[in-house]
Structure formats: C-alpha cells, structure tokens
C-alpha cells in the first residue's frame, strides 16, 4: 500500500544490486537514521541509555555476529557468551596496558583477538556437524569462562576477580568509565553497530556470503563447485567471532562498566543471543536487530506491567518473566519459525501487492 514502485526501474547492475533497491525502503532507512541520530540523542537519559539503548546496540552487534555463523553459514554455536568474554577481557587488557589508546582501535583489536580464538574453536566444525558441533561449542563457553576466572593475569590480579573499564575516549570524548554522557556512549555504539551492520550486509551479499550459504544449504555440492569447506567455515567463525568480540568489548566497557565472567558471560548469554537471531530471523541482518530489540524490550515491558502496574512481588515477577519468555519463544516458533524478519518480509510483500492478495 505504501509502496509505489511503478517507475522505479533499474538501468544498471549497481542499481539493481543496491542494498535497498526500492525508494520507499531507502526513505524508511533514512527516517530511522534521522530519528536515531537527530532525535534520540536529545531525549536520552541514563535510564534509557543503560536499560534499553546500550543493551540493544551491544546485543544487536552480538546477534549480527552469531547470525553470520548460524543463520548464514549453518554452524550452530552455543559459545557466544564465552566469545563475548574474550572480547571483553581483550579490551580490558589493552585498555589497562595502553591507557591512552583511543577506544576505537581497542574495540577493533578485541574483535580481532576474538576472531583468532573463534577460528581455533571453529576447527572441529570441519569434522563434526549439527548438534554435535553445538555441543562442542559449549566446550568453548565453559573453558573460556573458566580461564578468565582462574588466571589472575586476565583481571590484573585484583582482589575481586572483577574487571572494571578504565576511562577511554574516542577522538578525545569519553566513552567508558564513570563520567560519560549517555548521548555520547549511545551515539558511539550506534555508529559502530550501524557501520558494521553495513559491513555484514556487504559480506553476505558478496562471494564470501554466498559461500557461507552454499555450505549451509548443501555442503557437498558447495565443495564440488569449488567452495573450500575449510576456509569458508573458518572465515564464518572468524567474522562471527570478530563481531561477537566487539560486542563483548562494548558490552563490558561501555554498557556494564565492570564485569565478572560467570555472571556476565555465562551460558545464559549464549542462549539469549541465540534467541535473538531465531526470533529475529536466521540469515537476516534486519532480523538481528529486530531480535535484539525484542529480547531487550520484552523483559522490560513484562517487568513494567507486572511489577509497576499489577503490583506483583519482584521475585514472583522474575519467575513469571522467565515463564513468559519461554511461552513467547515457543509461540513465535510455532507462528513464524523464520522470525520477525520473515514476518516483516511477508508484510512488505502484501503492502507491495495491495490491494491484490497475490
């Protein structure tokens, strides 16, 4: 209904292969960006920043990464929490070793280190598939968390065993530590995530993305065509871990400020991010964002309704929340196993054909 595509014809391959070939979609994206950059920073406060926007952005980044591995390359991973921990601890070590370093290279380096670790744990994927691989990634999860708990070097031998982000800045503006402005941290994370969402989109619509999907859909045929399983799977692990590592760095340094491995990077984190991409939509960049938004907002909404409106006790509300999350997950899987992104796609198709049904 909103789509008026008549007259939007493509006279070149660049135009035809654009990320948003339809004008109305481009306008939609611009509108979102205008709100995100032009409106939100003026309305933001600590609550919105810490409870909603930063978690959303950090998790969106992690979901992007996991979606590359699971959604695009078809390799199930339950080790996201562990890889986020690698990113966080890498960032911590770099920040404490080089206190004056700009935060952008810190995040990138954390991502690269995580990518290396990810490749290491991705090696078994060459021999094992499916749930066997999923279980194998649990090894990464538990091993990594154990490592960060056990070896004092990682937390600079401090007494609490926690890591706390020292102040760091981007082009001279503080983005971590106690004295940050919510609009600044928000804008920083937003820009990072937006940029890397674009990168992810570029990857998945290029050769490497097609190779991932080929391995996902029919690995033997892919190999016969000349797609190398080794490099393809490991590249997916590397890129995925790079994103998850950066997400871990942002999560720890910008959002939480301090973290303790078992709590912040436990197996629950792995599941949370996995839920995000399943509910958002496997194999969809947009889905990563939708899933992250859903999983961040839903508990807040539920809590608001139950505790604030219905006056439920906080403990009971927590239980009900867990219960309802479970119900919602099952409900979603039954109604639309391909996630919010598919729902959006269906709706868009309908709008494009309106008033006709097909």
């Amino acid at each position: 209904m909103l789509y008026r595509e008549s007259g939007q014809f493509k006279t070149s391959y660049p135009a035809d292969q654009a990320i948003f070939p339809i004008v109305q979609d481009r306008w939609g994206l611009i509108a979102v960006l205008v709100v995100a950059y032009g409106v939100v920073p003026f309305l933001i406060d600590d609550y919105w920043s810490n409870a909603v926007l930063l978690p959303f952005l950090c998790y969106a980044m992690a979901a992007l990464g996991l979606n590359i591995l699971v959604g695009y390359c078809g390799q199930i991973s339950l080790g996201t929490g562990g890889f986020m921990a690698v990113g966080a601890y890498a960032a911590y070590k770099i920040m404490t070793t080089f206190p004056n370093l700009d935060f952008i290279p810190v995040v990138l380096a954390a991502g690269l280190i995580t990518a290396a670790v990810g490749v290491l744990f991705g090696l078994p994927s060459l021999r094992i598939k499916g749930f066997y691989l999923a279980v194998a990634t649990l090894a990464a999860q538990f091993f990594l968390v154990w490592v960060f708990n056990k070896f004092g070097w990682f937390y600079n031998y401090n007494a609490t065993g926690q890591i706390t982000a020292p102040p760091a800045s981007v082009f001279g503006t503080l983005v971590t530590g106690a004295h940050t402005h919510p609009a600044v941290t928000y804008l920083f994370c937003l820009s990072f995530v937006a940029l890397f969402a674009l990168v992810a989109k570029n990857l998945v619509r290029n050769r490497v993305g097609r190779s991932w999907m080929a391995i996902r859909d029919m690995d033997i045929a892919a190999e016969i065509i000349g797609v190398r399983p080794l490099t393809t799977k490991l590249s997916a692990f590397a890129v995925s871990s790079f994103y998850v590592g950066m997400a871990g760095a942002l999560y720890f340094a910008v959002w939480l400020g301090s973290a303790e491995p078992t709590e912040a990077f436990g197996i629950d984190q792995s599941f949370l991010v996995l839920f995000m991409i399943i509910i958002g939509g496997l194999g969809s960049i947009l889905g990563s964002f939708l899933g992250a938004a859903f999983m961040v907002l839903m508990p807040i909404l539920l809590k608001n309704v139950m505790v604030d409106s219905l006056g439920m006790a906080a403990v009971t509300a927590k239980h009900v929340e867990i219960l309802l999350m479970g119900v919602l997950i099952i409900f979603f899987l039954i109604v639309e196993p391909h996630g919010l992104a598919r729902l959006w796609q269906i709706m868009k198709e309908k709008l494009r054909l309106w008033p006709f049904p097909y």
């Binding site: 570029n202 016969i224 000349g226 797609v227």
Partner: protein, 262 residues
C-alpha cells in the same frame, strides 16, 4: 561458427575399480572422452554410473586405476580441486542451495573465478564491486540462455522440479567448465521437459563447445544426442562406441535393450 570438431582425448579413465566395504561398484572400467564430445554413460540402475561420475570428479577415490584429465594423471585428489581443473557437474537428486535465489546459485557457480579479498568485499569497493557486477553480467547471459528470466530472484526452493534441474545446469555452466558431468539430467521429467533439456544440453555443447559426459538410464534420449556411448552393467564395462554400434552390440541387447523391450 558451427559446432566445434571433436578433438583430442580430454579425459581418460584407466582400469578403474571401486568398492565399498567389499561390494564392488566398479571393476576395471576404462574409457575416454574427447574434447567437444558429448559422451553418455548408460546402464540400468545400480550399474555404477553415478559412482563413475563421483570417481571422475574426485568425490570417490578408486582402489585401483587412475584418471587422466587434460594430460594430468591422478589417483587421489580433493573434491574442490576437480572444480579448479574445470570439471563441473549436476546431481541426480537436485543439490541446489535452496535458501538462495537463482541468481545467487549461479553466482556461487562462479565462485572460483572471483578473487577479491574479504576486506574488499566487506567495503564493497574496488575489485569486489567490479567483480560482482562483471560476473552478474556473465550470469545473466546464462539466465538468458536457459530462459530463467522470470525466476531470477526467486529462491530456488520455491521453483518446480523441472526448472530446478535447469537452474542446476545453469550453476554448472556458470563455472565455464571444460568438462561438464550431468547425472541423469532428465530423470523425473515429463516428455516436454525432457525435450527442452535435450535442447539445452545440445545447445551448451554447440554454443560453448563444452565437453559433456552425461549419464542416463533412459536410453532413448541419450542415443539421439550423444556422439559416443559407454554401457555399464553391474559395475562392468559392457560396450563403448557410437550409438549405432552400441545399439547393435549383442551383449548390450541381451543385458539392457532386451530387458527394456520386454
């Protein structure tokens, strides 16, 4: 430019024997395929035709014998090396990438022709962009060649069987192979679809000069379009020759045609 004349030996199978856990799939098979030739391997189900294809493109490693392709002899190789050497194939049970569009399936077929690095692809600039656009153009030629225009952006999982077969042929062609292996390209098709597919196979051979090895259990179709036919039966080589020679071979008649005529 008419059809290219048949040239030198491109592929040579020497004394191939293959068995799985004691079961002989192929025993002492030798034959060759010449450049620009359209060769067929026929035989009833279980004759070892698919095993032979799998040996040629390195998916199975024969216990005995060797394959010579473009003058290079090998006994073992990695699967994707066959692709590097210019061997492409289709599968008896369609093995397309179901979640991807026709366009993306064909583009994946050109995987080996693309060389941009991941970093270039990440920013979609320079070589990566150039490559994408250039290869899109090539793939569009194949889409045009196989009349797939109306489905180019449809995920292949949603297409009817006959079209999927055609897309698979397209994916193999996208690699611009020097040897094309077709595993029962007409299986499960109705007469009209079979005729279309025959036309496409002949056109491929004619327009691109591609050497084709095609396996089929339905003799009728194959006899009409092949230059030479190799007949297998229970893993044994029964006969090699022109369609006419094979048709008149007593052993083939007994083992195969006789059955078909019952």
């Amino acid at each position: 430019m008419a059809r290219q004349p048949i040239g030198d030996v491109l592929l040579k199978a020497d004394n191939i024997s293959l068995s799985f856990g004691g079961v002989k799939a192929l025993s002492n098979i030798s034959f060759d395929v010449r450049e620009h030739e359209l060769a067929a391997i026929i035989g009833p189900n279980g004759a070892g035709k698919s095993s032979m294809l799998n040996v040629i493109n390195g998916f199975y490693h024969p216990q005995q014998g060797q394959i010579t392709f473009k003058g290079q002899t090998r006994s073992r190789m990695k699967v994707h090396q066959a692709a590097v050497q210019g061997i492409a194939r289709t599968f008896q049970n369609i093995a397309l990438f179901k979640g991807m569009s026709v366009l993306d399936n064909l583009m994946t077929g050109r995987n080996l022709k693309m060389h941009s690095t991941m970093l270039e692809q990440a920013v979609y600039w320079g070589r990566a962009r150039r490559e994408e656009l250039e290869h899109r153009g090539k793939v569009e030629e194949i889409i045009d060649f196989l009349n797939l225009e109306s489905v180019r952006k449809t995920p292949v999982g949603r297409l009817p069987y006959g079209i999927q077969k055609r897309v698979e042929l397209g994916r193999a062609l996208a690699a611009e192979p020097s040897l094309l292996l077709l595993d029962e390209p007409m299986a499960g098709m109705n007469l009209e679809e079979k005729e279309d597919m025959c036309r496409f196979v002949l056109d491929v051979n004619e327009e691109f000069g591609t050497t084709i090895v095609l396996i089929e259990h339905d003799m009728g179709v194959v006899m009409d379009i092949s230059d030479r036919v190799t007949v297998l039966d229970y893993g044994r080589l029964l006969a090699v020759g022109t369609p006419d020679e094979v048709r008149n071979n007593q052993e083939v008649i007994d083992a195969y045609l006789g059955v078909a005529n019952d």
